[in-house]
Symmetry: C2
């Protein structure tokens, strides 16, 4: 079968996905038996291009790079509500690569619901929708007989959710501790080197790791949404943002960092989940980690999650937590997982 | 469907697998839809027990713990060639938990071939057979329309092969560096603490990490077989033991370890694979790793592999590399993977 793919959102990640699909077309078909046809790409700002015969990924990347718009391409059309687009150009897998709003989960939540309602499986790298209502989305997908995957919503393409789903099958996850925000880990690594918080933030902003308004990262909101996703995925437990015991890194001083170092530890912003009797407790807070702990030596913008399991004890995965190609890889692996019929 | 399982080899790992199957029966059925019937267990020394109606895992564990033999159990029978046993009591999945002979690959190689010839899928934690002829075993399995899985042959249950097969699908592996032998890593960690090689080996032997004849570990043979498996799995390249550039840790002095430390590094026995033009080069050798590298801080008997990939850059997995339950978990996840029909 040839999988018909549609893409919503054409920022760096969406464009990265189109590029990856173009580069790897032959490899994917040969190695995984995954044949695809990219049938539409739509973006609120950059426009819409659609063709039931399939679009050329290379041409889309070129249009985005050269003109920042899909408007002059063959197959270009006016933007339309997603349901209309899906009805005119149905797809088997809808990729959502839109930015996240933590509070409403939109536009991701609506995009995923609409895609599933049309009979398409959905993959997303957006934290908003799955963080807010993963159980609801899974229920919709199950009713419609389609799949939903969201690997890239936590560690970009570094496998975590699919690692637990597949290769760790049989294990019960008992505890989670993770470095799931690269911006704060970069700032903490700079502070280890002697810089104070304000300087480190400024440098992170200069390098593009931190946004102009860094609140979402430095106050731990980004990590907290990821705790919500992991709590639903690993513990079957719905936590809302308000349930997360959240403390960011803004109150940390160079003295705190130095104190930890002299104790043979290193401060990390840890996103954690623990069982607490029958319930599940999620938190985001700076923790002085023993240097022997695998998370202690994860530096810079790198992410990592340590899973405590019943059968294996601790298993830690370390990898990138952001990037266009990295996030696109997560979306791609989700599509391959869906196509494998698992 | 109810998967009929047979087990060959009832040492610590085989017994661990039977125990795990017994403990997790309900969980596996509820969470993964995996229902099974353990139809025979056979061991060269401990005897054979078989029943087409299924054996009770708890009773087998009890017999092994209390009597070290299956001889008094209901369903006990004389040992017989595996082909005969499989013909009388056919199974859907054969688990091989026999010890490894690096040179001949036996008895694992013959067990896997016989199982596949009978129409059963096969899972193994034994390095011998898959290290020697993975391509041949895969070809046999493909011709017979069955599966073969061998996750536990490299890092016990810590996912590596299934991580690349599933969650990292879409990535090309460009380079591998791993700590794949817990005994030598334990010895190196002790030497870091100031002990010399002979002392460290003695302590590792006292704790049961090293065997009385430690050659297989300390000369790098164990790691070299694992390089053969990874080279076939990740690069599609058949390397024999003789192809591996192998150097163990026996020639390392306390001075070498101290020198590395004063250079801001740590010596690890690295099992590595690199592309070299069109060909693939495998090695096992002590390498002074920069402290910032994720493998540098992996201490004691823990294992880890760092995979350099095209889409994600470096991804590292850290976890146990041995243990009865840990290895059994790898066999279990392989069975669940086969049952998922992937």
């Amino acid at each position: 079968m040839v999988y018909r793919i549609g893409l919503v959102g054409c920022g760096t990640v969406g464009k990265g996905l189109v590029a990856l699909l173009g580069e790897k077309r032959e490899y994917l078909e040969k190695k995984y038996g995954f044949a695809f046809s990219l049938n539409f790409v739509t973006d609120f700002i950059k426009g819409t291009v659609a063709s039931a015969d399939g679009l050329d990924p290379g041409e889309i990347v070129r249009a985005l790079s050269e003109k920042g718009s899909l408007g002059d391409m063959k197959g270009s059309r006016d933007n339309a509500p997603l349901a209309e687009l899906l009805s005119e150009t149905p797809v088997d897998i809808l990729c959502d690569a839109t930015p996240t709003n933590y509070e409403t989960g939109q536009p991701s939540l609506g995009i995923l619901q609409t895609a599933i309602a049309s009979g398409a499986s959905a993959v997303t790298c957006s934290k908003g929708g799955v963080g807010l209502d993963l159980a609801g989305l899974k229920k919709l997908a199950s009713e419609r007989g389609v799949q939903i995957r969201y690997e890239s919503s936590v560690l970009s393409g570094t496998p975590l959710l699919n690692l637990v789903r597949g290769p760790l099958a049989g294990c019960v996850i008992e505890k989670v501790q993770g470095i799931v925000n690269g911006t704060t880990n970069y700032i903490l690594t700079m502070m280890e080197g002697g810089a104070d918080y304000a300087e480190s933030l400024k440098e992170a902003q200069r390098l593009g790791y931190a946004e102009t308004d860094p609140t979402g990262d430095v106050e731990g909101f980004d990590a907290a949404v990821k705790v919500c996703i992991m709590a639903q995925e690993f513990f079957g437990c719905k936590l809302s943002m308000a349930d997360i015991d959240r403390r960011g890194i803004t109150a940390l001083s160079a003295g705190d960092v130095e104190k930890a170092r002299s104790d043979g530890k290193r401060i990390k912003l840890i996103a954690g989940i623990e069982r607490d009797g029958e319930s599940v407790r999620g938190y985001v807070k700076p923790v002085a980690m023993d240097l022997a702990h695998p998370l202690a030596s994860v530096s810079g913008p790198t992410n990592a999650v340590c899973l405590s399991t019943d059968n294996l004890g601790d298993v830690t995965i370390i990898g990138p937590g952001a990037g266009a190609k990295e996030t696109a890889q997560g979306l791609l692996s989700d599509m391959l997982d869906i196509a494998s019929g698992r």
